[in-house]
């Protein structure tokens, strides 16, 4: 069963091998593996990884139908050429498919991916700011200990610290915070 499927596939590829097949296969694999590799990176922050992985996945989701669509569109356009013999028309369609794939890779996909991922990127970009505020509330007590123990010796610093607590961390410059992963 498996062998006959592979054999049929080989026969079909041997008769006509379109550029779309390879690029769609590559895009599918990239859509699966790139987010996995990104999420497995231990050196990156969790939020960064999530953002990068979803962006990579989305780009490939956009790429697959675009490769197929632009390739097919190029074939249709080439099919309208007049004065060619049926064999030459078939060659023209095949070559047009390849050119369509190149155009998709160079122009259409980067443009579409940018449009699709932009609203999502904006949504994610806002998220860490809210999380920073939440983190600060969670670490309020340890930070009080850390700041008073280590560096807040001068009266000015204590005043700054009170400003931090009363106004909220988000309004205070990052340089003022001595401890805290959120910064």
């Amino acid at each position: 069963m498996k062998a006959s499927f592979i054999k049929n596939l080989c026969e079909k590829l041997g008769e006509s091998n379109k550029a779309t097949y390879a690029v769609v296969a590559i895009a599918t694999a990239k859509g699966i593996f790139r987010p996995i590799f990104t999420m497995a990176d231990k050196h990156e922050e969790k939020e960064t990884k999530k953002y990068a992985a979803i962006r990579e996945g989305l780009t490939e989701v956009v790429a697959i139908p675009t490769y197929i669509g632009v390739g097919k569109l190029a074939e249709v356009v080439a099919g309208k050429l007049k004065g060619l013999s049926p064999e030459k028309l078939e060659v023209a369609k095949h070559n047009a498919n390849f050119i369509g794939v190149c155009v998709a890779a160079l122009f259409v996909i980067p443009a579409l991916a940018s449009i699709v991922t932009k609203p999502f990127s904006k949504k994610v970009q806002n998220k860490p700011v809210q999380e920073q505020k939440l983190d600060i509330k969670e670490h309020e007590v340890p930070e009080v200990v850390a700041i008073t123990d280590s560096s807040l010796k001068k009266p000015d610093d204590v005043k700054q610290y009170h400003q931090v607590v009363t106004k909220g961390y988000a309004q205070v410059k990052p340089e003022m915070a001595k401890v805290g992963a959120a910064w």
């Binding site: 062998a3 592979i6 054999k7 596939l9 080989c10 026969e11 079909k12 590829l13 041997g14 008769e15 091998n17 550029a19 097949y21 390879a22 690029v23 296969a25 590559i26 895009a27 599918t28 694999a29 990239k30 699966i32 593996f33 790139r34 590799f37 939020e47 960064t48 953002y51 990068a52 962006r55 990579e56 780009t59 490939e60 956009v62 790429a63 080439a78 050429l81 004065g83 060619l84 030459k88 060659v91 023209a92 095949h94 070559n95 047009a96 498919n97 390849f98 050119i99 794939v101 190149c102 890779a105 160079l106 996909i109 980067p110 991916a113 990127s121 994610v124 970009q125 860490p128 700011v129």
Partner: protein, 215 residues
């Protein structure tokens, strides 16, 4: 104008490239390596430093992909698929048995597409180039009007190439480029643009201007 387009689209050279996964992927990656950095450099919204950084990084990434693909994937998967298919498709022994390896088949296939007269001239004129082609195959190509194309052999090689593309470009290349691109950027004297570092640190987000265009 239409005639020119028709001539271009029916060009046999282009048809050969489009029919071969290896040539198509190589050409596409080369175009990406040249085209994408050019588009980044042409972007008027980005500052000069960011543009140079992103364009160089994109160029190095695509070149690494191309290098991995050409050096590792093409020879391994092309010949591997041929050998595997020869072993697995026992009922196609007649087709696979004619050829020693994938290279011999591809040479045969290239000649088989030509007209009989052109084929004979080509083999006689470039005897040195075709010295590795077996006498049996030379005989078939010189005597038959339409030599058998053995699609199953071509299909097996192409399937191997597609699997090779997937493994090479989606799995191996990102890992290799991860190891190569950053040291290469440092060696070339590129530092991550200051503005982007600040932005990404504040938002805990990756660099937006670092245009990850890879698709």
């Amino acid at each position: 104008m239409v005639g020119m387009i028709a001539n271009f689209l029916t060009n046999p050279g282009l048809a050969n490239i489009a029919q071969s996964t290896t040539s198509a992927v190589t050409l596409e990656t080369t175009m990406k390596a040249v085209g994408r950095p050019s588009f980044i450099l042409a972007d008027k919204k980005l500052d000069k430093q960011t543009k140079h950084y992103a364009a160089t990084k994109e160029f190095l990434y695509q070149i690494t992909c191309l290098g991995v693909y050409m050096a590792l994937v093409i020879p391994v998967f092309k010949n591997g698929a041929f050998a595997l298919a020869k072993k697995c498709f026992k009922d196609e022994k007649a087709a696979f048995g004619l050829f020693k390896n994938a290279k011999e088949y591809l040479t045969y296939q290239k000649l088989a597409k030509m007209s009989k007269a052109d084929r004979i001239t080509e083999i006689d004129k470039h005897a040195k180039r075709y010295r590795k082609l077996s006498e049996n195959l030379k005989n078939i190509l010189k005597t038959q009007d339409k030599p058998e194309k053995h699609s199953i052999v071509k299909g097996a090689i192409e399937l191997g190439n597609i699997v090779g593309c997937v493994v090479g470009l989606a799995i191996v290349s990102p890992q290799v480029s991860h190891m190569v691109v950053h040291p290469a950027m440092e060696l070339l004297g590129f530092k991550k643009p200051e503005q982007n570092i600040k932005a990404s640190e504040h938002n805990n987000l990756p660099d937006e201007n670092n245009l990850d265009l890879d698709a």
